[in-house]
């Protein structure tokens, strides 16, 4: 019994260490953002300050990168959500024998290193631009466009997986009923399928935007002369000596953590609602049975 107690203690200690390892870097960065020293550090502590926060907004490069990141994120959403949806629907309909090949091809971008996606996008569209004898200002050479396409290559696979999970629970008889009642295929798509998929659409949009926003490996090749928040940050961090970086980190962490928490809570509520619905349905069924039995 006592040896088991020791084992339990060791396990708890290990778990504590593990989570310390997970959160220590973030706490350190948080602390550095408020330390009144010219260099991002926590010790020695020279006193609390907020002065690193306003200095963020004077950095034009960073603001330009931030704005670009937002636009790219919106572009990636607009591209990867419809693609992921279409790919998921096709996946449910494709012939069994083709399914494995199809799945391997569309999931491969997730497994491929991001730098390679960036490089292949860059060289391919560059060649296509030359082939089409496009103007230098055309989209073939635009860093923003290439970044949206390059990121969407693998983000579409993420959104597809989100849609696939939801589609597994789709009851096709609804679709058939609507068709029997004279609805067109387009109506069925907008009035039956899309409303059913709405939660998945929102999660896919959120996932696409956040993944795009923090992507570096693919972006750094496709963005070329332009910039995103991550490429600006990477440049600054490599020089790496201003505490306002830590301040920015605190802001980003705060925003992302709130966002992540909100998504998590929304998901749990959704799940609970489903459970409640299921429980209510089961209860109604039991009552109906009871009534039927009583009527007999």
């Amino acid at each position: 019994m006592s040896s088991q107690g020791i084992q339990k203690l060791m396990v708890s200690f290990y778990i504590l260490l593990f989570f310390l390892f997970l959160f220590a870097p973030l706490f350190m960065m948080g602390a550095a953002a408020f330390n009144d020293v010219e260099f991002p550090q926590v010790v020695p502590w020279e006193g609390f300050t907020l002065r690193w926060f306003p200095s963020l907004f004077e950095d034009d490069l960073m603001i330009e990168g931030f704005v670009n990141s937002i636009w790219i994120g919106i572009g990636v959403m607009a591209l990867s959500v419809p693609i992921g949806l279409a790919a998921a629907i096709v996946m449910t309909q494709v012939h069994k024998r083709l399914q494995t090949v199809y799945y391997t091809v569309v999931v491969s971008p997730v497994l491929m290193p991001g730098v390679i996606l960036g490089i292949s996008t860059l060289v391919f569209w560059d060649k296509l631009g030359t082939f089409m004898e496009a103007e230098y200002e055309s989209f073939y050479y635009s860093g923003m466009f290439l970044t949206i396409v390059g990121q969407s290559t693998f983000i579409s696979a993420y959104t597809m997986l989100v849609f696939l999970a939801r589609l597994q629970r789709f009851d096709r008889t609804q679709e058939e009923a609507a068709l029997d009642l004279g609805a067109t295929h387009v109506q069925v798509f907008w009035k039956v399928l899309i409303p059913f998929l709405r939660p998945a659409i929102f999660s896919a949009m959120g996932l696409a935007f956040l993944t795009s926003f923090e992507n570096y490996n693919t972006t750094v090749f496709t963005i070329q002369a332009e910039s995103t928040l991550t490429t600006v940050l990477a440049g600054k961090v490599r020089m790496g000596t201003q505490p306002d970086l830590a301040a920015l980190a605190v802001l980003i962490i705060a925003v992302t953590l709130i966002g992540a928490l909100a998504i998590e809570i929304a998901q749990r509520r959704e799940q609970r609602r489903e459970w409640a619905a299921k429980a209510a349905a089961a209860k109604a069924e039991r009552e109906a049975e009871a009534i039927a039995a009583a009527a007999e």
Partner: protein, 303 residues
Amino acid sequence: MRDFFQRNGAVISTYLLLAVFFWVVMMIVLPQAYMLNFSFRHDLLPNQIGGPKDVYTLSNYEYLLFGRPGDEELFNYLHLTVFLRTIIASIFVTLLDFALCYPIAYYIAQVAKGGYARSMILLLILPFWVNEILRAFAFRILFGTSGVINAFLQTMGILDEPIDFLRADVALYAGLSYAYILLMVFPLYNAIESLDHNQVEAARDLGSPWWRIHWRVVMPHAKPGIASGCTLVFMLSAGALAAPQILGGPSSLWFTQIIYQWFNTGGNWAQGSAYAIVLLLACLVFVLTVMKVFKVSLGEIAR
């Protein structure tokens, strides 16, 4: 095909096919194929295209192996060393992550109860919403010469002089291991969670010590999860760019950094494509080896 159109109607079918076509052909297959093709080409100026130098060549790959023709060294030692170091260090990071994550995954999947397990999962996910570059930056604050760890060791009297963790690549390995923990925990967790706890109980009742339970019961069951976690972590470490740029010592390079140089300061895209293909091949070899060793299929890994 006709069934497909009948089932979805003309408009929706067109949308589905166009979207999937654009993705699969224009974004996945053709770019990869063109990059492969490009890697066998000379780096040409626009006016040389169609000229006598516009032919297939192995020179980009030869450069990685032997360096410039007529160099003093027999092999391109600099780039080959970086390549090997990247591969070996990535394997090391993978093993380290496995060792770190296995106990946690087992604990959450088999020991912890309901709400507690869910909260632990949430805690695991939260740090990974933070930007990759900022996470690497946090490790600079921790490991720098005036960082927290050095200060701590010095006040404790263990060290007289600060250690340059960045130069010694300690920060890089720690940062990489940290960056991909989640991708190891989740496949492991999913695999272990599907194990019936009665099997563990039965083994324990039959007198098996805890390490043998893991070796003979839990790990064989979790094989697909182990394979998929290891593959993901290896590929992401080998393909990492931000962490080596930020946490690598000034003299040590990562293979992706050389690729990056070919595309930027080097300005030789064909050469860079060849290097990218080599990296992709290395990842492919690793995946195939893992599949062979663990006897699992690609479908199980990619799940």
